[in-house]
C-alpha cells in the first residue's frame, strides 16, 4: 500500500511529541520538567515536519508554510501548557495569526482577513475581558500565587495519550488515503466569471478590444454590448454587439485578420494583444447585430472574494440566514444567563410596579 510517509517514522515522531506534551503540562513539582517537555514536543513535531519536507521532493510547500506551521503549533502548545489563562489567550492570538498566514498560502485571502478580524479581534477580546473579570492579578513573576486548578493539570498522561492517539490515527489514515484521491475536476477558479459580466466587459475594455472606429476610446457602456454569453471553461465570450457601428474598427480588423490580410498599416490598428483575443470572423445576424467570439484576457481572473461571495450568497442562502438567527439567539442567551438577579422585597416590587418608588419619599 502506498504511503506518503513511512508509518514507523510517523508514529515515532508522534510518540516523541506526546512525551514532550505530557511533560510540558503544568504540575507542581520540585523539578519542573516543563521547559524540557516543550523542547521534546517541539523536537517531535519539528522532526515530523522535517521528514515530510524531505519526502515531498519538488512538491513541498513554500518555505513560509514551515515558518507559519511552526509558530501555529508552538503557540498552540503554549496555549495548553501556560499556567496563566491570560497568557494562554495571548498565545492563542499568536496561533490564530499564524493560521491566517497558512490560509494566505492556500489562496484564501478573504478568510485570512476575516479570521484576523473576527477571531483575533472580536472573540479573543471577549475572552480577555472575562479572564480579567474572573482572575486575580498576579502579584509577582513566580507561579506561587496561582490557583490550584491553574497550576496542576488533570491526568496529563492519560489526556496526552488520548489526544495523540487521535492524532496518530488521523495522520496514519490520511497518509494512506491522500495519495489515492482522484484528481480534481480542473475548474481554474473561473466559474465565478460567468456571473460577473461587467467585470469581463471591463477587462475587454481595458485591453482596448471594444475601441471606437475612429480610435477614440468610448467610456465603458454596458448597453453597447448586449446578450453576452460567457463560457468560463474555455475562457471565451460570445459578444453580441447591439450597435455594430460603434465597433467598426474592431470588426474591420477582425474580418481582415480572418482573411489573412496584414492589418499593421491600419492607423486605428488594435493593439496586438487585443487583436489576438478575437477568435473567429464576426458574424452579422439578420437583425443587424453582430456576434463575435473572443477569448478572455490572460490577466482576467475572478478574485477570491468574488468567488467566495458568490458561493456564500448563491450557494448557501438558507444557511446564512440560520447563522444570523443563531448569533441573535446566542446574544439573547448570553444576556439572560449573565444578568444579575436582584432580590427585592414585596413592597419594593409593588412600588416599582406602580411607579411610586423614588422621588425622595420612599
Amino acid at each position: 500500500m502506498e504511503h506518503v510517509l513511512s508509518p514507523i517514522i510517523l508514529y515515532a515522531a508522534i510518540a516523541i511529541g506526546a512525551v514532550g506534551v505530557a511533560l510540558a503540562l503544568p504540575r507542581k513539582a520540585n523539578v519542573n520538567p516543563q521547559p524540557l517537555g516543550a523542547l521534546i514536543a517541539a523536537a517531535g513535531i519539528g522532526g515530523l515536519i522535517a521528514v515530510l519536507a524531505m519526502v515531498a521532493g519538488d512538491d513541498r510547500p513554500n518555505l513560509f508554510f514551515y515558518v507559519f506551521a511552526f509558530i501555529a503549533l508552538g503557540a498552540a502548545l503554549r496555549v495548553i501548557t501556560h499556567p496563566r489563562p491570560i497568557y494562554s489567550a495571548l498565545y492563542f492570538i499568536l496561533s490564530i495569526l499564524a493560521s491566517a498566514g497558512l490560509y494566505l498560502l492556500l489562496d484564501a485571502e478573504f478568510m485570512t482577513f476575516a479570521l484576523i478580524i473576527i477571531y483575533a479581534g472580536a472573540i479573543l477580546i471577549t475572552y480577555l475581558f472575562v479572564i480579567m473579570l474572573a482572575t486575580t492579578a498576579p502579584s509577582d513573576e513566580g507561579y506561587e500565587d496561582l490557583e490550584e486548578y491553574d497550576a496542576v493539570a488533570r491526568e496529563p498522561v492519560i489526556a496526552t495519550g488520548a489526544g495523540f492517539l487521535v492524532l496518530a490515527i488521523l495522520t496514519g489514515w490520511l497518509s494512506v488515503g491522500v495519495p489515492h484521491l482522484p484528481p480534481p475536476a480542473y475548474k481554474g477558479g473561473d466559474e465565478a466569471l460567468a456571473q460577473l459580466p461587467l467585470k469581463v466587459q471591463q477587462a475587454f475594455d481595458e485591453v482596448g478590444l471594444l475601441e471606437h472606429a475612429d480610435g477614440e476610446m468610448l467610456p465603458f457602456d454596458p448597453g453597447s454590448v448586449a446578450g453576452t454569453y460567457y463560457d468560463p471553461l474555455t475562457r471565451q465570450a460570445q459578444l453580441l454587439l447591439a450597435d455594430p457601428s460603434r465597433f467598426r474598427g474592431m470588426l474591420r480588423q477582425a474580418r481582415a485578420r480572418a482573411r489573412g490580410e496584414d492589418v499593421s498599416e491600419d492607423a486605428d490598428a488594435l493593439s496586438p494583444e487585443a487583436a489576438a483575443l478575437v477568435v473567429n470572423e464576426p458574424v452579422t445576424r439578420r437583425d443587424g447585430t453582430v456576434v463575435v467570439l473572443v477569448s478572455f484576457p490572460e490577466s482576467l481572473r475572478a478574485r477570491n472574494i468574488e468567488s467566495v461571495g458568490l458561493e456564500l450568497i448563491g450557494g448557501h442562502p438558507l444557511t446564512l440566514e440560520m447563522a444570523g438567527i443563531i448569533l441573535l439567539l446566542a446574544m439573547l442567551g448570553a444576556v439572560v444567563l449573565a444578568r444579575k438577579r436582584i432580590d427585592l422585597e414585596q413592597a419594593e416590587k409593588l412600588a416599582a410596579a406602580t411607579g411610586t418608588l423614588g422621588g425622595g419619599h420612599a
Partner: protein
C-alpha cells in the same frame, strides 16, 4: 507580468503531498486542543482549547477546498467562525454566572449538579 503575479493568477491544483502537509498541521492543532480540553481544569482555558480544535478543522477545510479548487471550504469556515462566536458568547456568559456563585473557575467545583 512578473512571475509572482502570474503564479497568483494561474491557480493550479495542489499536489497531494502538499495537501498532506497542511492536513498534518491541522490534525496536530486539533490534537493539541483535545489534550488541553481534557487536561486543563480552568473553564476559560478549556473553552480556548475548543477554539483551537475549531482552528484545526478550519485549516483542513481550507486545504481541501484548495485541493479541489472549490470555494465551499472557505464558506464552511465562515459558518464555523459564526458558530464559534455564538459558542464563545454563551460559554463566557456561563463562566461569569458560575464564577459569581462559587468564586472559582475550577470545573471540579461543579462536579455535582443539583437540580
Amino acid at each position: 507580468m512578473s512571475d509572482a503575479m502570474s503564479h497568483f493568477l494561474a491557480l493550479t491544483p495542489m499536489a497531494d503531498v502538499t495537501l498532506y502537509h497542511y492536513l498534518v498541521v491541522s490534525a496536530a492543532m486539533f490534537a493539541l486542543g483535545l489534550v488541553g480540553f481534557v487536561s486543563r481544569r480552568n473553564m476559560i482555558v478549556m473553552f480556548l482549547c475548543t477554539e483551537l480544535m475549531f482552528q484545526g478543522a478550519g485549516l483542513a477545510m481550507i486545504a481541501f477546498g484548495r485541493r479541489w479548487m472549490d470555494h465551499n471550504g472557505e464558506v464552511f469556515v465562515i459558518f464555523v467562525l459564526t458558530i464559534a462566536a455564538a459558542e464563545a458568547a454563551l460559554a463566557l456568559a456561563l463562566v461569569v454566572l458560575l464564577y459569581r456563585k462559587k468564586h472559582s473557575l475550577d470545573t471540579e467545583a461543579w462536579a455535582q449538579l443539583r437540580g
